[in-house]
Subunit: 350 residues, 2 copies
């Protein structure tokens, strides 16, 4: 493998190399990389903007996350925040901090993932900053989207009796992380052992290459559905349920038997002696959308292949409970990843 020191190119040389052939797909992008700032055309819409800071050793472990995947995921996680406002993401700006441990080729690999995500989601990379760090890799990503004024949905609009809906399935990303950590231990004990990962493709993909549910935002529009509140699941279902309820001033009741889980996730959780429900509630990093709808909209989501009704709002604020498969109602507990409390334990984003 070729290794070019970043110092050989300098800041502007590296930026030039990383951003060459960058193209735009959004009509709202008037001016991208290469000036003091990008220029965007709102085209009559409202703007939605969100930012994330991702730090090596806290949010990712490069010993099992390839740089390209990291770049992809870092963008997607931010796009997911834009989706969570019921908006379609259109632009990102990327701040990239690299220590001298990283070569130009490493920066390019990371950027390849960033660009792939932009391509897949038709999002334009319109600006950035590239700099040195004294140690480790840091990514600061800000995502933007445009939305019609009456379409934007916050966390705060859920009302008593509204139905709670989740997209996709839950817990897979967390189980993917368990697999990676087990393989890392195996590798450290016996570096020549072949990793056994084929069986876990779905779980690993959900962990390493999560997707933002732009498709769900589009379907919600097609269904002429206006959610009353919405959030994306980064810290785990339980934690997000509480955010939604607290912001809206309602309680929420979730039904364990309704929670959507992939069969492989269920089996792997059991294999790891983990409670599958706990994985769904607290695993996090699913980047699915969690939202509430009015009861009269139930027919629009009933039997929808991507959407599951898992509970409903109740008038009692701060009453967050789960009705178990056994029929008992227990308090929901948020055990979301908290990067500030347990920096060693796992990823955290918001």
């Amino acid at each position: 493998m070729e290794r070019t020191e970043i110092g050989e190119l300098g800041e502007f040389g590296l930026i030039g190399r990383l951003t060459k052939d960058l193209t735009h797909q959004q009509p709202s992008t008037l001016r991208g990389v290469g000036d003091d700032a990008a220029v965007l055309d709102p085209m009559g819409k409202r703007m939605v903007v969100s930012t994330d800071l991702l730090c090596e050793g806290i949010h990712f472990d490069l010993s099992y996350v390839p740089l390209k995947h990291l770049g992809y995921k870092a963008v997607v996680v931010n796009l997911s925040d834009i989706c969570a406002m019921n908006a379609v993401p259109t632009q990102v700006v990327v701040g990239l901090g690299l220590s001298n441990r990283f070569s130009v080729e490493a920066a390019e690999e990371l950027y390849e993932g960033i660009r792939l995500a932009c391509e897949v989601y038709k999002v334009d990379l319109v600006g950035g900053d590239t700099t040195a760090t004294t140690s480790g890799l840091t990514l600061g990503i800000t995502a933007m989207g445009w939305v019609e004024p009456d379409v934007v949905v916050g966390r705060d609009g859920a009302g008593d009796g509204d139905l709670l809906v989740v997209s996709g399935d839950l817990g897979a990303a967390y189980m993917g992380l368990q697999i990676l950590e087990r393989e890392k231990e195996v590798y450290q004990a016996a570096p020549t052992a072949q990793p056994e990962l084929d069986d876990f493709a779905y779980l690993l993909e959900r962990q390493l290459k999560p997707e933002a549910r732009v498709d769900v935002i589009r379907e919600i529009a097609d269904l002429k559905l206006k959610p009353t509140s919405m959030i994306d699941i980064s810290d785990g279902l339980a934690s997000e349920v509480m955010h939604l309820g607290t912001s809206s001033g309602v309680g929420i009741k979730v039904y364990e038997d309704k929670l959507p889980i992939d069969g492989k996730v269920y089996d792997t959780a059991r294999e790891f002696n983990l409670d599958p429900t706990l994985c769904m509630l607290s695993g996090g990093e699913d980047y699915e959308l969690l939202f509430t709808i009015r009861q009269e909209d139930f027919e629009k989501v009933r039997n929808h292949p991507k959407l599951t009704v898992i509970g409903h709002a109740v008038a009692a604020p701060d009453a967050f409970t789960m009705v178990t498969k056994g029929g008992t109602e227990v308090p929901l507990q948020a055990q979301g990843w908290d990067g500030l409390r347990n920096p060693q334990e796992g990823p955290q984003t918001d």
Copy 2:
């Protein structure tokens, strides 16, 4: 001094404490901190957006930069990029990464500076991300502004014969850094020595508390002046002259005897055995605005207290020269700070 560990509050607790009482001053801010993303109303204007990543040990040295000043400066540097598009900044989002070396009180002090800058510039802090790092302090700031479509100015519009104009004076921030570094050495040699800083108030203020020239953007509007190209001076005049010329496809000739310098900067440079002109050309971090105007607009800037004509564009691309006080024409050399090449040597932003 009280010290509260960040882990005691957790991520959401810290965010709550840092963002309590946050108010908005911009009519374009519809929704700020507290949801997945902020919501902004373009009000018929174009959007300008810029991002910066600032890392401890590369862009700042906390042994002589107080946290409050750092927060202030980090915001201002980004606002300056918005000004450089001939736009007025209106919103920022802030990513904050802290190692466990930092207490809640330290985070609050930093945020105090961020909030002060927002207050001074009537800019709304509309979003952020707060997280742990394995070491050091990282700030990722994205600034936004709104501007009438025909007002925005890029780097690429300078034409042959256009006059080159700079706001304020040059070299002061660099000399302020020299003072701070000298005092740091004195302190390390004799920790009880009293720092001698009173004499250098202007230089230190320019280094520690630079300002974005929003006032100049407003005066340009009042003068009904439309610059043909514009950039802000972060890396040093010479480097920015070349950026402007290269983007516009013209050469630029600068006159040494026109370069604006403060008397104290001149004297201090001489005291340090530094060439005052070199400090102006390569010092950087002035955050003044550098722009070109058509010759017929000369009367609008003539004798303007904040603006100085220092040169003009020439038809020969890549011909960047300075006519010295002695009348000789010498090539301009960009020796701007480059954080990637010389991480030890000084700050770098773009």
